[in-house]
Symmetry: C2
Subunit: 334 residues, 2 copies
């Protein structure tokens, strides 16, 4: 019955017209007699003909696939997932579909995925950079394929960049704690390679120094367990801090666990960077500086689609502000 799917030629034969006429109808050209259009449409329907995008792409001049690539830290984490959803929502009305992949902070994986998506003729890329340098993009990507960077600045390749107010958000958190009378505020975070972490630390240090307070920095925390352990150590010191600023999601949760274990959750103040579900249901509710991943995704997708439409201008830097959400843990006086 089916020996491969039907081609334009099959449709042409079935409709009694030439191949080219079918092509014209399928592509919505208006220079075809209505009677022929109808015959072709009928044949298309009865044969269940679907145009072969690859073949069309090969011959066409514009060579668009209406597909973009989205390279995230980890498609499974809630932050990435919300960003992903926002990108899809912007792309959907344009008939643009999304290839996705997780980089796990691995620069090799970043380049591998870029190459894979380039081979699949993505019209553009949205990238949360894992590596320190994106110069390779010039080699992997055909000319004219735009890239928008998200959450971290890129190096070596031009593109719009969507960033959160990392330093500003951290500064706001620390100022909030100072406003409640705290004079000894500790920073818990991941000081690693990642530019994001450094910016948050800078925000903390700036405010603490301006206020003439002693900085306490605990770095190198990558997961909940490490954060919990470090927080326990910190609070058992002879001069423990009266307030904590945790620079990331998982670290905040580790700190909450530690405070519980010591029964200090109503005694030591806490503000975390990044919101998380149910933060309001804990006791006390956890005060956070929330990012807006959905807005970041929307902004990135809009910037990319604009470039794909031929918009050429100097790469822009788009900054999405953070919001401090007081829920109790950050309003414990010092």
């Amino acid at each position: 019955m089916t020996q491969g799917r039907p081609t334009m030629n099959d449709v042409a034969r079935s409709a009694g017209v030439s191949l080219k006429t079918v092509s014209r109808v399928v592509n919505g050209e208006t220079t075809v007699a209505p009677a022929l259009v109808a015959r072709v449409r009928e044949a298309v329907a009865s044969l269940h003909y679907r145009p072969h995008l690859g073949a069309s792409m090969l011959r066409r001049n514009d060579r668009r696939t209406s597909t973009i690539g989205l390279l995230l830290t980890d498609v499974g984490n809630p932050f990435s997932a919300m960003l992903h959803r926002a990108v899809e929502d912007e792309a959907r009305p344009r008939g643009v579909y999304v290839l996705t992949g997780s980089l796990d902070e691995d620069p090799d994986r970043e380049r591998e995925l870029v190459r894979a998506f380039a081979r699949r003729h993505a019209d553009g890329l949205i990238l949360v950079p894992a590596g320190p340098d994106q110069g390779y993009l010039a080699l992997e990507l055909p000319d004219g394929v735009p890239v928008v960077f998200v959450d971290r600045p890129a190096a070596g390749f031009p593109g719009d960049t969507v960033l959160t107010g990392n330093a500003a958000g951290a500064a706001e958190a620390v100022r909030h704690l100072i406003g409640y009378g705290h004079r000894h505020i500790a920073y818990l975070g991941d000081l690693a390679r990642i530019a994001t972490a450094r910016r948050r630390l800078r925000g903390y240090l700036g405010v603490v120094e301006d206020a003439g307070l002693p900085p306490t920095v605990v770095g190198g925390l990558h997961d909940t367990a490490a954060a919990e352990a470090s927080t326990l150590d910190l609070l058992r010191r002879t001069q423990p801090p009266t307030a904590l600023f945790t620079a990331q999601n998982l670290i905040t949760i580790g700190a909450v666990r530690a405070l519980r274990r010591l029964g200090l959750q109503h005694a030591v103040a806490l503000v975390g960077f990044d919101d998380f579900p149910l933060a309001d249901l804990l006791d006390p509710g956890v005060t956070v500086v929330a990012q807006d991943p959905a807005e970041m995704g929307r902004a990135a997708a809009r910037a990319l689609l604009k470039r794909m439409d031929g918009h050429t201008a100097e790469p822009r830097e788009i900054r999405i502000p953070t919001t401090l959400i007081p829920r109790g843990s950050g309003e414990i006086p010092g």
Copy 2:
């Protein structure tokens, strides 16, 4: 400088060999003299040649793109996101990449996305069905493109199906509550179209009836707010239940909020279907019947890849068991 990217012909000219020899080298065929291989490799590198997958696909017999489509309820929700990640992890070592999309329980959207992915020559699909019938797949998909269904059974198209033990999990939750002495256990859930919800309700009803207990069913709950309101109503009745079984994530959270507001969180027992982050940090910890989205994703991807490898056998039904995780709220005696 760049007038389009280089083709195999450019490489052949640059290396002083024939087009076909380049093709052989690029495709890793072993019947080429080492000296020529080296010359071709060099030319490939210096010209930054990248093979044109579309053209290759067009001519090749097997016509594979090493791309699969993943159609989820909502890429932004944690359950879908974890499933997505597991699929990616299975596909990655095979050099298979993933097109993703959200259906939002909309059958039209389901068909639209299937068509879009088929046009992009996905080698296979993993689908969380939104609509009641998947018969259209036979028209939209080329012959031989396998589909694996996840989380819900499909109709009208053959394919492996990965399901959670919905009825069994619900039954276990209710039995757990009965084991703690409860005789009046209410069901809160979404009774809508969705097969999943009906199965959970069936699990509840089966156990309750077998135990000779009166069923109390509150349905039509779609979000946290509705669940909170309904729970409040329920607990203010003259004969309130002593235990709640909430059939879904968001409903569980709504119920938790309601119990808090009434100060009953240590008096009324609660078991929820679906785990959620921080369930253990609440007071009391929330006992749940946990699904395993990662295992569902792995199973689906493995089944799909096997079919893509030519495995032909009767479609299988793969059932991923649930796990009851006691954390406190389900162990309050009745």
